[in-house]
Subunit: 300 residues, 2 copies
């Protein structure tokens, strides 16, 4: 099954407890694609980079079999983000610098080969842009990620795009902020009233909660020995979620649950290294082994 | 199987978002017994109350079949605690008043009928007192609860009692404080080195983590519609945990996992009402129904 993902491609500079890292491959589309490509061989990304974008990263996507026809190279510099994590607050990034550069005027344009996917992932960009794509593209399932910035500054546009998508993925804090409800069950039901058939609330180290009209499913986090860098864990989660669904072909209560579990597994790999370091070296056997460990972890 | 629980018995005054409640039955032994008695018919509590302790609460324990030979009534007033919870921070009590009264000089004395239980629960009291009891009593399994106050003020005594018990139950924040490790897997392993065969880290609405030499088990929280009053949820958890183990007779990886799940179920009932309100009216069928829902919640 085909997947098209729209999102940012960035060069991230990270200060984490284990060290400082300059301009590693980052952005929502990069993390999503790294994760999703372990499940899905028909994956396209749509994004923009500047002329300074390292050739090796282009090669990286190609080596993973990711279709990059929709990756525009524009005059100017690539989006850069610089952030820091403190050892006792690894779930919260402190943004030190953001240089949008060519990403500032990003208008997603789907190439012919990525315009009619079965699964469309709308990564965390302005809801107006997400809305534009959601309107144009016919897909079997449209999955959307968002963040507190858009909830605070573009709520009307976010509500509009929610009426056009099938699955909303955000974190529990954002769910509370968006719905005004402290209770995640309430929050989830309020989101369902706006259009989505399912809502997934990521809870960082505490796992994830899936709420749909006929199901409530919860997983704890997969405990990892040491969190190195959480950047992109949410996008790796989304990549595993969409990849697993694309692979299982049917969208059922069972396949949605399994997809959330795979999402968690991919997020847990993500945090164990800097940027895409760990997932880029992972293979499907490692993913399956952790998925089985995860099933064993929660079995009673 | 017989269970003896040692802990506080209090009159709690609570200010919660749904209202104010004066002098309801509280304390670790009360919550533990309310929960554990749904599993175990041979349960004794050891504690102290003042002469003002309402007769109806004595009757309450008797009606539940709890052996109160070890419940001393002393000259003076019963332990009183007053606390407040804010709607957006239901996991954190703000203590408004503490009157230890007769509890200040509490020295647990086990009656003949409660001195040799198969399961000994040492509720959250000063580690020196816990140590004293742990030393005197021979039990198949000794389970201990503690809190940040003792970690900060009586760490040496806490370490001493840990060498004498089998299962430590505390919350994730306390685990981090006690071990100095942010990572719960690390923290759990550090606790195991001190003596316990298993450690359970409660995570409030996020469930619980069990770590033993040969197992790691994690459950998310059971999502409840509305949290009314979290006071005593940890003791209700412990009551379900110990009760389930006492009922299953064998202590195995499987029975420990099931006991943690029952603990979570009992904690989830606890928070849905004030004090022991909900669990005191619950029956075993309701517990089983929620246990099955919990299994369904996490299945994938």
């Amino acid at each position: 099954m085909s997947v098209t993902a729209i999102g940012s491609i960035a060069l991230d500079s990270l200060i984490v407890p284990s060290g400082e890292f300059q301009e590693v491959l980052g952005g929502s589309a990069s993390h999503f694609a790294t994760s999703c490509s372990l499940f899905c061989k028909d994956l396209a990304i749509v994004g923009v980079v500047g002329q300074d974008f390292p050739r090796e990263h282009i090669q990286y996507f190609q080596d993973r079999g990711v279709n990059i026809d929709g990756l525009k190279v524009e005059a100017g510099k690539t989006f850069r983000w610089k952030g820091r994590y403190e050892h006792d607050q690894m779930d919260q990034a402190l943004t030190l610098d953001t240089q949008l550069n060519v990403f500032e005027n990003f208008r997603p344009e789907l190439s012919q080969s990525s315009a009619n996917p079965e699964f469309l992932f709308l990564g965390n960009i302005h809801p107006a842009l997400q809305n534009d794509v959601a309107q144009k593209v016919t897909a079997r399932l449209k999955i959307l990620d968002t963040m507190n910035l858009w909830i605070q500054t573009a709520q009307a546009q976010l509500r509009e795009v929610l009426s056009k998508i099938d699955v909303l993925i955000f974190n529990d804090g954002e769910a509370r902020l968006f719905t005004g409800s402290d209770n995640l069950l309430d929050a989830g039901r309020k989101v369902l009233e706006l259009g989505p058939k399912a809502v997934i609330m990521k809870r960082g180290e505490h796992g994830a909660l899936l709420i749909s009209k006929d199901d409530v499913f919860s997983v704890p986090g997969f405990p990892v020995g040491k969190v190195i860098d959480p950047t992109g864990a949410g996008d790796s989660f989304a990549g595993g979620f969409v990849g697993s669904l694309a692979e299982s072909k049917e969208i059922t209560k069972e396949s949605l649950r399994r997809a959330v579990a795979y999402g968690n597994v991919m997020g847990s790999f993500n945090v164990q290294g800097v940027g895409v370091e760990v997932l880029s070296k992972a293979n499907r056997e490692m993913v399956e082994a952790r998925f089985k460990s995860f099933q064993e972890l929660v079995r009673f």
